[in-house]
Assembly symmetry: C2
Homo-oligomer: 204 residues x 2
């Protein structure tokens, strides 16, 4: 079956695309607004772009009425953000933070989470998160037209916070981390059903 996404409406194209790019990691992004309110929201169009420098990017779609989400406005104003990792223990609070609250409401309060001061950026860490990355804005790529704009926010990781015991031989222990990922629609996956497959290092 062949489908041309250029001839689909936004909703149908969205359904299709999020089923083809799976499983997706969740960037749980904390920012601080011009009004000083701490914002928190999850995004799953999210990837590493480079290791050295450590560059990450995530896409923020516009609201249904075409207006920008708080995350984008805050990043544009403050030039920084924190990406927190979502694990099984935090999945409900992550979902609460996805509620489109007005700018004067903090998702931290609504979700019962603790903002912690970052070392190098103005955005707060989620104190409960197993891993957090302080990021400085580098660049924003803009796609699409009103009301379906998408802003791909690119930043450099300045500092990583990893909970004690989670780092084993310089790597994050996936078994302890229990990260969750996004699938099609409102489906998620756990990362407990794992297998190991050594990547070939040399030409055959």
């Amino acid at each position: 079956m062949k489908i041309d996404p250029r001839h689909m409406d936004y909703r149908d194209a969205h359904h299709l695309l999020i089923g083809a790019i799976v499983p997706r990691p969740i960037a749980w992004v904390s920012t601080v607004g011009e009004n000083g309110v701490f914002n928190l929201a999850p995004f799953s169009f999210y990837a590493g772009l480079s290791v050295k420098p450590a560059i990450v990017g995530f896409a923020v779609g516009s609201r249904r009425d075409g207006s920008p989400k708080d995350t984008l406005r805050n990043v544009l104003f403050r030039k920084d953000f924190v990406i927190n990792v979502v694990n099984e223990a935090l999945q409900d609070t992550m979902n609460t933070s996805a509620t489109p609250f007005p700018p004067e409401v903090s998702e931290f309060e609504k979700a019962g989470l603790t903002p912690a001061r970052a070392d190098l950026v103005k955005a707060p860490l989620v104190a409960e998160a197993p891993v957090s990355m302080e990021c400085q804005l580098r660049q924003i790529l803009e796609f699409g037209e009103f009301p379906n704009q998408s802003s791909f926010i690119i930043g450099e990781v300045l500092l990583m916070h990893v909970k004690d015991g989670l780092l084993v031989n310089g790597a994050i222990d996936v078994a302890q981390l229990k990260a969750i990922g996004r699938l099609e629609g409102d489906n998620y996956c756990r990362t407990g059903d794992r297998f190991y497959m050594q990547m070939p290092r040399n030409s055959l």
Copy 2:
């Protein structure tokens, strides 16, 4: 524990970052070289950037000696590529395609896969893949310095191919798809351990 990736060597920073961005979808990218040879390789720094237009991006790191990988050279020359979805049935062939073969060797042959002609691009589809996306190059972002450059290749999805029966109510059936994702190191996860969590649609 706090870690500054700017003060780590490439290898250590890589280990750390790939454990923090999990689970990652796999872009199994097919291209065609200037020499006409079909290339195929997996990349997991991969994300959607926009829904309408349907924009995707994936990062290609340089080889250890700092030279460009075939995928990057082919995309630069042909201006297009195909992203194929990797499921459990294809995991071994995907891993074989990750071997750094010389440019004159086709990963399709080595892995026993069938290249199929695409409709709109020069790059071939993996005939065995459950989902394939024909993409046109839009832009490449360059990061890092020799020998650790990273090229984030951004393209527009022109046409999606979805195997019969996999599309249910306009969405890809994740249960049938059986996609796999990447974790830290050479660890992978399956997407069979799922849960549903409705995203809040309205302000509380």
